[in-house]
Every structure is written in C-alpha cells, then in structure tokens.
Amino acid sequence: MSQSDLDEELALEAGEIARLVSYILFLLIASGMFFAAGDIPTSRFERLGAGAFPQFVFAGIVLICAIAIVLTVPKISAAAYGQFFRFAAKWARKCYLVFLCLAALGLYLVAMPWLGFSLASLIFLFGMQLALLPRSVKSIIIAAIIAVVFSYGLNLLFAEVFTVFLPKGVL
C-alpha cells in the first residue's frame, strides 16, 4: 500500500473516530436526559406522564448509539487514533471559510440587538462578501451595493410593506 493510500485510509478512519465521538456524546446526553425525564412529576389523570414519551425517545437514542459504538470500534485501527488530531487539523484548515462564516453569523446575531438589523446586516453582508469575493474593484462595488440593498432596503421593505419591524437596536 502506497503512502497516499495509507493516508486516505487513515483519513477515512479519522472520520469514523469523529462519528464514534458523536455516538458517545449522544449516548451520554441521552442517558442524562432519560433520568431527567424520569424526574418530571406524573399526573393522576393519565397513565403516561409528561416524562414518559421523552423517556421512550431517549432510551431509543441510548440503544441505537450503543449499537453504533459496538459496530464502529472494530472498524478503526489503533494507528488511526494517534493520527486523529493531525487529520482533524487538516480538515479544519481546508474548511476555514466555514468557521469564518459561522463565526461571523454568530457575531452578527449577538450584535443585532445593539446595532439594530440594518447596521448589523450592512456590516455582516459587506464583511462576509469581502472575505469570500475574488479581489477586484468591480466585486467590491457590487458587494457594497448588495450590502446596502439587503440591509437598509430589506428593513424598509418589511417595515413599509409587511408592517413587520425588524430589531432597531439601541445605538
């Protein structure tokens, strides 16, 4: 087996490790929620209480995750565990724009109550487009126009036509 084939196989196994982690995480959360659902008081008016249906569901998650763990562990070689962080970092570097995008969305949503919809959207739209666009003067001008139209323009449309008022902000 060549080095690239080996790397490809290890990368696939790194994906399996990530899934294994997700199964364990879901199993732990569902176990906790199962017991939390058991603490919900029952009612004398009905056979099943408010916690019964959630308990069925969380028990189902625990069961399926346990099966998933049992089926996944044998698929992963010992060498793959040692290489997991290397491949995870490689994937994160490849997808850095996704993280940038989600972080920008998070900041935008957090800032909206203070800046208001229009200003927050203007900054978000222009900033995001700047981060993603191919560098040229024409693209930057288009990005600026789009940012104004879909921030202040959208706000105006919703307020005047649909009488839906988007967050005004405190600034």
């Binding site: 959630p54 998650i61 969305l105 995001m128 988007l166």
Partner: protein, 505 residues
C-alpha cells in the same frame, strides 16, 4: 348548476383575476425565501381581503396558497434549502438535478407536478369531500398515533448512507420536539431555566437552522471555488416547458398516487404539506424499480414531492367545507376570512352558500392555472439566481434566513437559537448524518406524543390500538414498511459487496 354559474361569474371578473395573479406572485415570492411559509403569506394577505367580496377574498387567498406551495421549490432546487417545510423532500432530487446542470428542468418538473397535484386534489375535493370529511373526523387518537407510527417508518427511506445515523437523527428530532411544555398538561420540560425554551423549539427556526445554515456553510467549504467567483448552479437554465410537461404526464401512477397521498394527509386535521411531501416521496421510492436512484436527481422524486405537497391544498379544504373543521393553520385563516364576512362555516355551508363552495372549487382550479402561467413566465427570472456567484448568495440568503426566523415571533432569542442549531446542523452534516429524518422527527414528535397520551387517557388498555380496524391497518402498514426497508437494505448491501468483490478481483 345555478350555484356553479353564480360562483363562476364571481371568479371570472377582471378584478378578481387580477387580484389572484397578484396573490399568486406574492405566494411564490414569499415561499421562495427560506423561513417564510405559505401560512405567513396568507396571514399577511388576510387584512387586504376584508374589503373584498367573500368569494373574491377567498379566491385571492387560495391563489396565495397554491402559489406558495410552488414557491417553496425554488430555493429547494436552486439552493438545496426548503423554502417551506412542505418542500423538504423536493431538495432530495431537485437540488442534485440542478447541481448536475439541469436547474431549469428541475424547476419545471416541480411546477408541472404542483399544477397537476392541485388539479387532481380539486377533482377529489369535488367528488369526495363529504364522505372523506366524515371518515377524517371519525379517526380517534388511536388511529392518529398508528398513522404517525406508520409515517415514522419513512425514516427508513430517508436515512441516506447509514441506517444507524439516520435512526439517530430521527430520534434526535423526536427528542427536540419534547423540549418545552408538554402538549397535554403544559408541564415544563427540559427548558434548563431558559425562557426561550419554555414554549418549545420553534419548528421553523429548527428547519432553517438545520437545513439552510448548514447548507450555506457547506457551500463555502471549498475556498478556492468560492474565491474564483463560482456560481451556485452551473449548466443549462432552460425551463423546457412543454418537454417537461410530457415528462411529468408520462409518470401517471406516481403523479396520481402522490396526489392522493397529499389529499388524504391534507384531509386529516393537524397533518398537512410538511408530512405529505415526505410520505409521497417515500411511497414513490418504495414503488420504484430503481429506488437506489432516488436522491441522485431523478424526476420521479421531484414529481412525488411537489404533487404530494400541492395536493394537500385541496385535501385541507375537505374537512373545512364538509364539516367546518380547519385541517391546517391556512384553512383556519380561510375560515376566519369567511367569518369576517358573517358566513358561518360548518356542515351547512354547502347547503346555505353553495355558490360560494362551487366558487372555491373553481378558484382552486383557476389558481393552479394562474400559478402555472406566472411560474412559466417568471421562472426564467428566478433561474437567474443560479447565475449569482456564491460569494453573494451565501451572505444574502443567510440574512434572509435571519429575517425569516425573527419575523416568526419577533423574538431576538429565536436568532440565537438559529445560530446554535445552524452550527449543530453543520456538524451533523459534516459527520454524515442525514438531516431529513431529524426534521421528520421534529414534525411528527408532538403529534405522536399528544395522540398516544390522549388514547391512553381515554382508555387505559393499549390493546385498543390493535382492535380498532383503521388503527390496526396503519400498524400493519408500518410493519410491512419496516420489513420492506430491511429487505431493501440487505439487498443493497449484497449488491454493493458483489460490486466491490468484482472491482477488487
């Protein structure tokens, strides 16, 4: 006959038709924006109809309704984001087809399937409204729960690459539906002291976060492609109107079956388009000779989903016209608009206001024709969306999603929830979890829990689920469905193993 002619005379006036055209355009545009549902579009239309004649107002709202069911397919096909909950299954095949360079064909298939779905549902509405309405209201919580058990077996068709991960996703969806006050006694559950969780996770925010945000984030995974100014969809954007019409009509069994599924689900109070599209898709996949081709961008998937969801428009009117019971939120708003004009909606509606009822039937058919004409002329414009580069479309659609999530309840906390669920959705997508079962779980969870508890409150004996004939029928269908799914997966695994063995040797 006189009533029919009076109804027709009221519909076929220049003003009514002009209003209906405007309604159809508004419905298509509103539903094309992720987060804006048909219901929201109709709510916004309601005040505008107060000054109109009763039938004119209803006709306008029906045109928004019919247009709205079609509009959801635009973002489903071009962005991979369901514009409305009723177009979730449309993304499975319309999006791959559009990505494969046939965006025009994907949209055209959806429009024609929607058109025929609405027409078929209207025919069923005219012929079968009274008997179907009587059956629909006779169903008790036992039948509803068994129906939901059957609907949950659809997960088997939506699991994607991995059955285990599909099942986990479906269960996570059901678990998410249990957050907030319980549906029977209102006891708070799993709110962890957060006020925003007290009323539960808003379904639309979950849908937008899971599908839209995660899809948009995955669009920028390849930084080189984004920075080179690549478009979302490449290839022919020809709408292929007549060719596609023949293509849709060449699948009569799929078209009629999916439409009837839509009518039946639409006729059940509480169900609706969000379930019908998935059930119709599932049935089409199960009946197909090539079920493995579903999800790769085949016409059958689009036809099933779009005709199924559009047919719920006619189906929903069955209990409303027959018994005065609204089958969905939209039907409740239609009822409200009649009540504003002093018309009481109930079993006597068809006797006391037969011209109005016939007028509604005519308005449904006219709405579907208007939708078709509007769609044929406007789709070229919508297809231009496909030519917009990713660096513009991703941030702009994200802002539209934020507006959609906020406009639902005017709550800032919904925006935080949107961000959180968007990140969770992306992580699940990246780990290879199929997101459709999760959405199905969120939709069906509250209906399943409510009816299970209601059934056991009415009669503590669980064997009643098996002794009531319709309930038993649904449960048998669920068992058959599971056995069929296991058989198909085993068969597929064997075929795959044979293929790999042959490739290795």
């Amino acid at each position: 006959m006189d009533s029919f002619l009076i109804g027709a005379a009221q519909i076929f006036t220049f003003t009514t038709i002009a209003y209906m055209v405007a309604g159809s355009i508004a419905g298509i545009i509103a539903s094309a924006i992720p987060g804006f549902t048909v219901t929201m579009a109709i709510v916004l239309t309601l005040p505008l109809t107060f000054t109109m004649e009763p039938l004119q107002g209803i006709a306008v709202m029906l045109s928004v309704y019919v247009g709205g069911y079609t509009g959801g397919l635009i973002s489903a096909a071009l962005l991979g984001i369901p514009g409305t909950p009723s177009s979730v299954a449309t993304t499975f095949d319309a999006f791959p087809m559009a990505r494969g360079g046939e965006a025009g064909r994907a949209l055209s298939l959806g429009v024609w399937a929607s058109f025929f779905g609405t027409v078929i549902s209207t025919i069923v509405l005219i012929v079968a409204a009274p008997p179907l309405a009587l059956i629909a209201v006779k169903l008790g919580p036992w039948e509803y729960f068994s129906l939901i058990v059957f609907a949950l077996t659809i997960v088997a068709s939506l699991v994607g690459d991995s059955v285990i991960r599909g099942l986990i996703a479906g269960l996570i969806g059901l678990a998410m539906s249990t957050v907030g006050s319980d549906p029977i006694l209102g006891r708070s559950r799993f709110d962890f002291g957060f006020e925003m969780l007290e009323t539960g996770l808003p379904f639309l925010v979950v849908l937008i976060g899971i599908y839209a945000i995660s899809q948009l984030a995955s669009e920028v995974e390849d930084s080189h492609s984004v920075r080179s100014g690549s478009k979302l969809v490449t290839g022919a954007i020809d709408f292929q109107t007549w060719k596609v019409m023949k293509e849709v009509l060449s699948r009569p069994v799929n078209l009629i079956r999916s439409s009837i599924v839509g009518v039946l689900i639409g006729a059940l109070p509480g169900a609706g388009g969000s379930i019908a599209n998935l059930v119709a898709y599932d049935q089409a996949k199960r009946s197909s000779r090539t079920p493995e081709a579903f999800g790769t961008g085949i016409p059958d998937g689009i036809v099933a989903s779009e005709s199924g969801n559009s047919a719920t428009a006619g189906g929903g009117l069955i209990p409303m016209i027959g018994l005065g019971i609204p089958g969905s939120a939209v039907d409740a708003i239609l009822m409200a608009s009649l009540m504003v004009h002093g018309i009481s909606v109930g079993p006597r509606l068809i006797m006391d206001h037969s011209d109005l009822v016939y007028g509604m039937f005519i308005a449904m058919v006219v709405s579907s024709f208007i939708m078709l004409i509007v769609a044929i002329f406007s789709m070229r414009l919508f297809l231009r969306v496909a030519e917009v580069p990713k660096w513009i479309i991703v941030p702009v659609v994200m802002v539209c999603c934020v507006v959609g999530a906020f406009a639902l309840h005017n709550r800032i906390s919904d925006l935080y929830l949107l961000g959180f669920i968007g990140v969770v959705g992306y992580v699940l997508r990246a780990l290879g979890y199929s997101l459709a079962p999760l959405v199905l779980g969120v939709i069906l969870g509250p209906i399943a829990e409510t009816n299970l508890r209601r059934a056991l409150m009415t009669d503590g004996d669980p064997t009643v689920f098996f002794t009531r004939p319709i309930s038993l029928l649904f449960l048998i269908a669920a068992v058959i469905s599971i056995v069929w799914a296991i058989r198909t997966h085993l068969k597929k695994r064997k075929t795959d193993e044979r293929f790999f063995d042959a490739a290795a040797s």
